[in-house]
Amino acid sequence: MSVAEILLQQVVNGLALGMMYALLALGFTMVYGIIELINFAHFSVFMTGTFFGLTVLHLMGFTGSSASLTGLPLVGMLLLVFPVTMALTGGLGVLIERVCLRPVRGVSGTAPMITTIGVAFILINIVLMIWGPQSKPFPKIIPDRRWAIGQAEISLAQIFLAVAGISLMLVLNFLVKRTALGKAMRATAQDMDAAKMMGVDIDRVILLTFFLGSALAGAGSLFFGFYYGFTAFYIGYQTGLRAFTSAVLGGIGNIPGAVAGAVIIGLIQALGGQLLGVKWTDVIIFSILITVMVFRPAGLFGTQTPQKA
């Protein structure tokens, strides 16, 4: 393969990865947009989501050794497993907000962030206790079909990830831009007190934001499982940090920016891994994170710097 073809292959891989980071980055950016909180628990919600998905699949009779599905059964199964997993992670997000974060809402300083770190640790260790430290194989129910684009290949899983990811983002976009809930969310993000005085039930809006963000993370969990074919208790941290970098790159609080940032991070991961070696991927990504924060704290697409009032 020529260099150009290798690059093309990595672009395809990178775009697919970008979809997964985007789903995760949206949760960060929505929560930050609305209550200005960096939610470290989101890492763990994502990781827990992979185990929710695995459990749902097990309950449906799929195990690591199951044969892949085709045609209608595949579509039907995906239409079932996605909503259930997303509802479960969404519920987890709601639980976290209601129990741990609402009491510290509006507390100044580092307390809310420290709370989310605590929640992240608790979740990781609960998963560790229930499912153990070994990594678990994910059922390969998506058949390993590949199509050639020149010398590069695109797999069915990648196409499927792209389609599902884009549809979920379109749904989110519709929710935020066209519905009453979306209007309430945008109002709360602008000015919580004013929204409250205008009759917006901000508790409910924040709860729903956590639900949506965590549900998208749940979709990201399934992507992770189907894409890498395994899960383990430690996966949330690295993937979560990359997703967070995406959100920052796109301008935290900026929903389309998060998606664009995620695609960029996916590409950087794929290409950087190819060019410099996989072991340096995280160093590259975090160097980008730091560089962006230093030179463009509002993100590549942001218009204003978030500053303390």
Partner: protein
Amino acid sequence: MKTLTTWWGEAPWVIRWQRMSLVRRRQVWAVVLLGVGLAFPFVVTGGGHVDAAANAYTWVVLALGLNIVVGFAGLLDLGYAAFFAIGAYGYGAAASGQLKIPWSDVWTPLLWLGQVRRVPIEGGGELVQLQISFWAMLVVGAMVCALFGVLFGAPTLRLRGDYLAIVTLGFGEIVPVVARNWDWFTNGAQGLGGVQTPKLFGFDFGFSPFPYYFLGLGMVAVAVFVSFRLQESRVGRAWMAIREDELAAGAMGVNHVHYKLLAFAMGAAIAGIGGTFHVAKLTTATPEMFQFPVSVMILVMVVLGGMGSVRGVVLAALILAFLQSVVLQELTLWVNALGRAVGSPFLQRLQFITALELIFGLILVLMMLFRREGLWPAVRRVAALSREQQSALPSRGAAIELSWASPKSVVVPARPLLEIEGLTKRFGGVAAADNTTLAVHAGELVSVIGPNGSGKTTLFNLITGLTSRDAGTIRLEGQEISGLPAHEIVQRGVARTFQNIRLFNNLSVLENLLVGEHARLRAGPLGAIFRPPSVREEERRAVESALEVLGLFGNRLIPRLDHPVYGLSYANRRRTEIARAIVTRPKLLLLDEPAAGMNPAETLELMDLVKALRGLGITIILIEHKLDVVMDVSDRVVVLDHGVKIAEGKPVQVRNDEKVIEAYLGRRRRVA
């Protein structure tokens, strides 16, 4: 005075203790605790406990270092273990055979000093083998870590605090990755081995835990001492002011970027020292020793003890280290034995040590939900004022005078003190200042009035550098001040209060005022730690000066000197804020609705003070809504409406100005 009813209440040593000064009590505590620490290895049996205690001291030192960053300065550092790692690998590489450097004559001076050896290698040639002294590396490690702290801190500390958390998290992730992959320096995942142990005057620390125990104890003692000294200094007050309200800290003369960086660098330096010690003791370093959970564990120690509470952090670090190295392991052994006795395989397999991170998570969440101030909080509880003190009639100070201010009635310079020309500031399409021009002469008392949203507070924000202007100039004594950071404007003699009081809530009244004196004081971190006579004198004068200003408010604030300001009444908080502004010794004092929320009598009392301050030669610009007050005290009144100056003149003139009436009451329909 509460009467003591306990049996020991009358004992002579109790009486003596109660009569001791706070400083003396602390000295007694220090001697007692140090004695206990020194006696510990001789009391316990077996080296295991001494070893565990020596390890625990490493954590205490690290927790105290992080406490400077998180507790004092309020910066969330999630990658603290990275600095620990840099210190550790620094010593590890400098005192083992890891680095394979060919010999060259550059190394000769170090060879003379015995810090390197020439080692012949097979097939000819020679290598340098580093064996740098542990004591030198303590210093070098601290400096290298501080340098990394500055490198990472300098760009990010300008941003809001959340970003620092992320950048430090990223840094904390990168360092172990580098440690795992940079084989030449770190020997990769296997880690460095064969690190030499410290030597002191020919005595080799070796592998016995005892020397490390005493060295660790010494480090803890130094770290505690340094923490206390910093906390009660100009530096510590600046940190806490930033933690409480960064913007107000800037407006009181604290250069917040500088002080945040200082906190970050000092925390990093302490982590470097901790890392050097840790590796010298273990004689090995692997990437796993410095992962994210380690950073979190140190954070848990700070949170559990109480952010900013030195004694709390020490206690919590000891508790958690004890939990980790003794309690959970003993518990596991005990439960496993129980499992064998009752034949339960479940109990036999139980490993409590794996629950450690769960415990950390629970501690973080529970502390944040239920006890944010920590187990042993930093804020001292102060006895409430007695009923008599509370209901005491407000009294005035004998005379309103300040040692540093005098009526400058003789020469009024021709040039105005403050000159504003063409000042413009737009927020989107709204002009909060539209080509405003204003001149204020020394000794004047000018009031700025105008309907809500007319740009009064924006004018103050522009003058004090909190908001950047779009166009125009602001000159103080002929010097351009627009574009300067807020803290420099304070240094040039402009102080302000805020419309919605911005005090440092968890600091006492006195401490708030001492922050106000920040710009005039000089003590740096070294002065704070060693407290030479010059610094003592400076502190004494600072307190004196603060008391003098508080005296202006009669018995309103003096009895509440040591009370945290969040507990004060609204009016007293306003007074504290005004006092905090006065204590900067301003040439120009900007008061933003100082009488808001005060009753008529309190308002009159305040306005008498304002007039007296003017009489002392302090130029004042006052924003006030109570028009009768304004008309009474002002030399001149400026009226703003939609960012435009619509009238200016003596109170009487302004009162009858058509445009002013119109701005306040709306256009009057002309009667035909």
